[in-house]
Symmetry: none
């Protein structure tokens, strides 16, 4: 069943809001195994709305509208749909009474505009709105299903879930997705390793998506049942893990910090962090994980050189000699922090987040990350690209990944 979602509203075309209704509807339809092929947004303009609907009728089997059902003059979705399909609008007695009850309760006078909301195209089925005055509409016509939903998400979401989803045929089985999250491997290097799978696998399909600081592989499986779809996903995930190994750090909603937290928790070990250029983001990520007080003991945001000395005991001479952004200072920060905090691990980050402060020798994006552990200290040098926030994020990701690999006994 090919589906098109048409959102109606000039506020979308002016960029005042994002089309979150289309996101919600698409997600729910995918779970039901229904393919969404197009999202379209069009303004409160009857001619363009009619044209958009006509194009949809040529290519889609299920057309879902959101918006344009309100009482005002620029709300024209219902009128336009009825006109294109050549259907008369008829008064729905039950909804008229419901509206009169609502207005009586609010002690407001009902205008002609409000009565307009009780009109529905001949042959259509009314969908009750528990959160507003605009009912939805379900219409089957010429082999197509046309659904009209109100624009406010608080009205659209429960109406769709409770009244529309149950009416839709469960045709093509179930579509289930799983995301594998990858770091430490560029999008194209990753693709080299798995190109044959991406090209040849059709169920599940494998779609790479480069995020700012990680790459996601989305597997999407179709099957008759949820269980069968899970099995297909499991089999493909196993194949991918053989190729990608430890570069896969998490699945679905899990974060890098969550993965590290899980490992520390399992080993009953603790961590302290010292941050210069990342300015608290590493501590923030680690403490976003619920229950983090079990393993996260303390963080030091040593932004000034003075704080590096006073809080972490990094000798001014060392900073003088090598610079605050140097392997020597990163190592000393980690070493001293581990000793002072008595934690199992200390992670230390020093670098240049930019946009100012870079030099030819130490450019924006240069970051040293050290990890102190019982076996000693290791340190890596990175050259990140991006703006200030991206460099902070990339550095935190790299630091957490260094610890993750160490905890997995892969290197470090």
């Amino acid at each position: 069943m090919k589906t098109e979602i048409i959102a109606v509203g000039t506020e979308l075309l002016l960029g005042q809001i994002a089309n979150t209704n289309a996101r919600f509807l698409s997600e729910k339809l995918a779970e039901k195994g229904i393919n969404v092929y197009w999202h379209t947004v069009v303004g409160d303009n009857p001619a363009r709305l009619a044209e958009t609907f006509s194009i949809a009728l040529t290519r889609a089997d299920l057309i879902i509208f959101s918006g344009g059902l309100g009482p005002t003059m620029d709300d024209l979705t219902k009128e336009t749909v009825a006109e294109v399909l050549n259907l008369a609008l008829e008064k729905d007695e039950a909804w008229t009474e419901e509206l009169e009850r609502i207005f009586a309760r609010l002690e407001r006078v009902m205008t002609d505009n409000n009565y307009k909301q009780a009109l529905i195209p001949r042959g259509a089925r009314l969908l009750i709105n528990d959160h507003g005055t605009a009912p939805g509409i379900w219409l089957e016509h010429g082999g197509k299903i046309v659904v009209l939903l109100p624009g406010p998400p608080r009205e659209l979401m429960p109406m769709f879930t409770a009244q529309v989803l149950p009416l839709l045929p469960e045709k093509d089985g179930v579509i289930l997705s799983r995301v594998l999250k990858i770091t430490g491997l560029g999008e194209s290097a990753m693709e080299e390793r798995i190109a044959d799978l991406v090209a040849n696998q059709t169920n599940p399909t494998i779609a790479p998506l480069a995020k700012d600081v990680e790459v996601h592989l989305r597997l999407t499986a179709k099957a008759a049942t949820r269980g069968q779809a899970q099995k297909l996903l499991d089999a493909t995930e196993a194949k991918l893990l053989t190729r990608l190994g430890e570069t896969v750090f998490a699945r679905d909603e899990e974060s890098m910090a969550g993965a590290v937290a899980g490992l520390l928790f399992k080993r009953n070990q603790t961590i302290a962090v010292a941050e210069s250029c990342t300015g608290g983001l590493l501590a923030h990520m680690l403490t976003n994980v619920s229950g983090s007080s079990a393993y996260f003991m303390q963080g030091q945001v040593v932004y000034s050189n003075r704080s590096k000395t006073e809080l972490l005991g990094v000798q001014p001479e060392l900073i003088e000699k090598h610079g605050a952004v140097s392997e020597e200072v990163a190592r000393k920060m980690a070493e001293n922090l581990r000793r002072r905090s008595s934690c199992d691990f200390a992670l230390a980050i020093t670098g240049v987040a930019g946009p100012t402060g870079g030099t030819a020798e130490k450019p924006v994006g240069l970051v040293f990350i050290a990890i102190a552990k019982a076996e000693g200290i290791s340190c890596r040098k990175f050259n990140f690209i991006g703006n200030r926030e991206t460099i902070k994020e990339r550095a935190v990701m790299a630091a957490l990944n260094m610890l993750r690999l160490y905890l997995l006994d892969i290197n470090g």
Copy 2:
């Protein structure tokens, strides 16, 4: 100039992400007075992509694509556009060299897929990507302008603002928006103060939008020129400020941390922070502001009781007697931190972020925030609602707002 924005990506059709690029582009185009009439989303499918582009060519003068420019096999926007317009793809020597430089710097091997990113349609102009490897493309063909932008917002946004907007003609008058950001006042309390303005003003319109930790008021003005639109916005902003006063903390892209940073910078004063439940988020927000090393000296994430004692000298007896989440401990954290760091201000936060750790006496969301300054220490108690991340955000917002009001000499 009729505009269509086409986003390419199956992840949008599966509802995995919302089309925020279209929102951003529409907003920027509206500011320039360019009418966006359609948003379309289509998947990584060459036939449907070609069909969508062909429809756009019949109705729009300016067509902007986002997404599908990556190095992988399912990135097909450039290839499809070239095919529909019957243009050859040619290697751009300068971008090839740039890619080789980027890969050398990252110490990664460049694959054939990466070289594909340096191909551009004959006659097109390359748009430089400062944040990734996929260049954008500007193409004029048969009286139409076709622009191809990379999908990741961090790449698309600066490319569009710096390189595409200046090339676009300024035509149909200007629509300009301004956002006033408000904190410390609920949405309905705010509405009480300004209901008559919201109801009666049509240019600019005033639209309230409740965010998680702040409320936004969006003013949208239409005028013949940018200057006239600015004047309309200024006049309405002045009216609103009379009603809302110091609850308005920032405008447009400015953040609360940015507002506080500006005040500290102007007064040439410094700050240190101590965080328990917010876990580094306060330091992270303050250090997101470029140039923050001028005023931000250090942060302490004192998650464990031991770290509160060892790093900030909070006596174990005080914690024992009042609990780590108490006014007494918050005050002591701020007091000791200010003395030890020699900063002008010390902000300290202690609370229960949840979801676990709450008790009847000290429930999830209870937070104490203290600020130490030359005149002494003040402390406020808050009861925030929300999940762990929201409580962290609300606490940081409240802490920064306390400091902002003090710096504005309003209270504290």
